[in-house]
Structure formats: structure tokens, C-alpha cells
Symmetry: C2
Subunit: 227 residues, 2 copies
DNA sequence: AGGCTCTATGTTGTTAACAGTTAACAATTA
DNA sequence: TAATTGTTAACTGTTAACAACATAGAGCCT
């Protein structure tokens, strides 16, 4: 078997496999296609087409789809194939409710377990986000926001929780009503962040979980209103 | 077109044939083997052996294992195969924390959405459990307890939440320190149930979620202490 | 004995081919 | 024209075979 020069990134990774199996590579590739929107909700996933595109056989792709099915990103219909899951409004609301509960738990755990250094870090991130908001730098705000939530999740020290949370966030990408964060909402959103960090600094579990809960639901409102 | 006596089930049979792919059958079979303990934590799942045992080929079994991997019941190691997941104490504690958060959410949702009829039903179940506890009828208590929690979950009206909850409960079967409910604990456990229903009847969201939360963690304590 | 290489065997990863189903389209009929 | 019926092409479900890898054990050396 020889390597062709102009191959896509996925193809390259297939070439240099040793620890990674084709299934896991296919899974990540398809997952990324879904999250980036290259495949959008309702689209059919053609096994043969994907297989030839990746220069592999259908087996690994079928396995990947099974995994993604349980992750809620793909829907398998017998004799008809795999479709990218369509996320209705009600389903998204359901997921946001679960997200809210998990986020509240993060708050409780952080109050118990967060080191002072981690809280410092969170404060700094809020400051940086404030600056980004002032400058209307949406990209920076977006990635800082991600880092803020990742830092909190890491501090909670519960890997299962983190996995479920990631799962839900990925599924919510299927509910695209555009605009993740609207311009005018940046300061409002960050005010909530600051409020959250204050509760954490005071080691107030009730306040922390309540404010995180509110933050999630406010995000839901912002998303829905930006229809 | 006339209706034949036996043709009523034709549509059903077609529907079953549609939904029953070998993969889904294998998945349910393996899942059951894991939950019942026929396969216990750490056991290796031999694809070929299972395939010959089920009289099918390895393909569907591999797909089933991929699905179960994402469900947290199976662990896949490259070039080495699938193992039944081993659940360490810390992982079980993590899952119980998530379970606690989800259960608290059930309480909040029930306060908002539960019909009076459903609350009646819950009250009756508590009474029946009390009777079963008096008679030391462990089996009855066990199934009533299941029904109690299922009823609450159904009343919460959130299918995603229910799926995640089920997932977690299935995983926790891998953490077998025997004794699900100890004899002496039946009345204690049911007192918590009654306490929960009271909060629901008063439509007190805070109390309901707090008591459900406590109930889960008490269950964890009972399980750990029954080492 | 203890440790090493090397072979043999079984198991997994991957592929290709076959069989059954679906869906779209052409052909037929009224 | 509209509806129904063949017909075909494409796709999925499943299987069987091949290649790559891992493990256990025999034999060998020190």
C-alpha cells in the first residue's frame, strides 16, 4: 500500500496509524463534520461515499456511526442508513434542563474542591472577557468563555460529569439558531460570570449553584430570542 | 382487500423485522449479560466466541460493542478487544454525584409539572412499600421502589434526562458490592420516600430537590457501608 | 534456575463480496 | 393525465476471508 501526496488531513492520519484505529479516526472525523456543520441536521450519511472518500472500507464507518448514535449525534434507520440527528426545539430545551442540573452540580463541587489558584484563574478570565467585551472582540470572548467553563469543569474533579456535559454540548450544536452570543449580550453574560465567581470565592454552595443555573438558562433565553 | 385472521400481526411483524437488526439484538443481549452478571467487570468479550454462540458473524457484535462502549459498559482496547468495564470506587462515586444532580432536577420538574393523579400514585406506592417493609418482603419492595422512581421520572417529562439516568443506573450495576437494599434499611429508605412525596404535594421545589438529593446520597452510603 | 529469543496460535482490525431492501424512474393501463 | 405496476440502480445488512497484532510457551543460552 502506498501513500498518495495530495490527501486530506483525515487521510494522512489514517496513514500514520498505529495506536489509533480506523474506527476512532472515522468517528472523530464524522463528529467534526457534524459539529462544524459540514454535515447538517437531517443529512444522510452515505457509508460507501464516506468509505471511498477516506480510502477505507465501510466496516469502521458503520462502527463509528453506532458510537455516534449513542452519543445522540446520529440516528440509524434500518435499511435506510444513518442520518445526522435533527434537534427539535423541545429536545433542545430538555437538554438545556439537564445541562442546567449538571452545571449546578459543578458549582457545588467547586465550592468544596476548588483551590484558591483556580478561583484566581477564573477571576482573571472574567477580567479578560470584560476587556474583550469592551473591544467587541467576539472571537476572543468566545474562546475565553470556553476556557472559563472548561476550567470550572476541570476544577470540579468529576470525569463522568465532564463527559456527560461534553456530550450535551455537542448535541446542542445540532440546534443551530445561529448567533451563539449576540453582540449586545456580551456584557450581560460576563456580569453573570463575575457573579458566579463571587459566590465561589465566598464558598457559598447554594449561591454558586443557583447562579450557574441561572447563567445556563439565561444562555438558553439568549439563544432562543436570537431566532 | 380482505382481512385475514392472522394478518393483523403482519404489520407488527414487519415492524419488528425492521427494528430488529442483528446489531441491536446483540447489543441488548450483551447488555443483559453484563447487567445480570453473566459477564462481570473486567471480563474479556471474545468476538468470535459470541458470534458462534449467537450464530452470527463478528460484524454486528463489533458494532454492538462500539455502542456499549459509549454507554460506559464496555471498554475497547486496540488489538486486544473489548472488556466489560471495571468500575472503581471513585468512578462509582462520580456517577452517584451525577445521579444526585439529575434526581434533584427530577424533583424540580415534578413540582412544576406533576399532575395530582401522579402524586396520588406516588403516595400509594409509598404505602405499598411500607407494607412490604413491614412484611420483610424484599422482592416486592425492590420492584415497588423501581416503579416509584420510574413514575417520578416519567412525570418529569424529559426524555433526555430519563435516558441519561438509565445510562447511569446501568453503569452502576458494574459496581457490585452486593446488597442493594439491606433488610434493616427498608423503613429508613421508605421514610425518605414519604418525605419526598410530602414536599411534592406542597409543590415545594427546593425541599423536593433537596430531599431527593439526600435520598440518593443516603442510598450511596447504604451501598458503601454494606461492603 | 533465570532470562532471553523465537515460533505457534488465537484474536482482533480490515477488507471485499454477497444478499436483501429501498427508492426513483420508466412503462403500462384506464 | 393520473395512478399503478415493472424495472433498475444504489445502498444497507451481513458474512467470510485475509492481514496484523498479541500472548503463551518451547527451546536455548548463560
Amino acid at each position: 500500500m502506498r501513500k498518495e501526496p495530495g490527501s486530506v488531513s483525515a487521510l494522512e492520519r489514517i496513514g500514520q496509524r498505529r495506536s489509533n484505529t480506523l474506527t476512532s479516526i472515522a468517528k472523530e472525523a464524522i463528529e467534526e463534520m457534524i459539529i462544524t456543520g459540514e454535515l447538517s441536521a437531517g443529512d444522510r450519511i452515505n457509508e460507501s461515499a464516506l468509505a471511498t472518500r477516506f480510502n477505507i472500507s465501510r466496516g469502521p464507518i458503520r462502527e463509528a456511526c453506532r458510537s455516534l448514535e449513542h452519543a445522540g449525534l446520529v440516528r440509524n434507520v434500518t435499511n435506510q442508513g444513518a442520518y445526522v440527528r435533527e434537534m427539535k426545539l423541545d429536545e433542545a430545551r430538555e437538554l438545556y434542563e439537564v445541562r442546567r442540573a449538571l452545571t449546578a452540580l459543578v458549582g457545588q463541587l467547586l465550592v468544596e474542591r476548588a483551590s484558591d489558584e483556580l478561583l484566581d484563574e477564573l477571576e482573571q478570565l472574567v477580567d479578560q472577557m470584560s476587556k474583550a467585551a469592551d473591544e467587541d472582540d467576539l472571537d476572543s470572548y468566545y474562546s475565553l468563555n470556553l476556557e472559563f467553563h472548561d476550567t470550572m469543569m476541570a476544577g470540579a474533579g468529576n470525569a463522568s460529569l465532564a463527559r456527560y456535559y461534553d456530550d450535551i454540548v455537542k448535541q446542542l450544536h445540532l440546534f443551530r439558531r445561529r448567533g451563539l452570543v449576540q453582540r449586545g449580550n456580551l456584557h450581560a453574560s460576563n456580569a453573570e460570570h463575575r457573579h458566579i465567581v463571587e459566590a465561589l470565592l465566598q464558598r457559598d454552595a447554594t449561591a454558586a449553584s443557583e447562579r450557574l443555573s441561572d447563567h445556563v438558562m439565561a444562555g438558553w433565553q439568549r439563544m432562543v430570542e436570537a431566532s
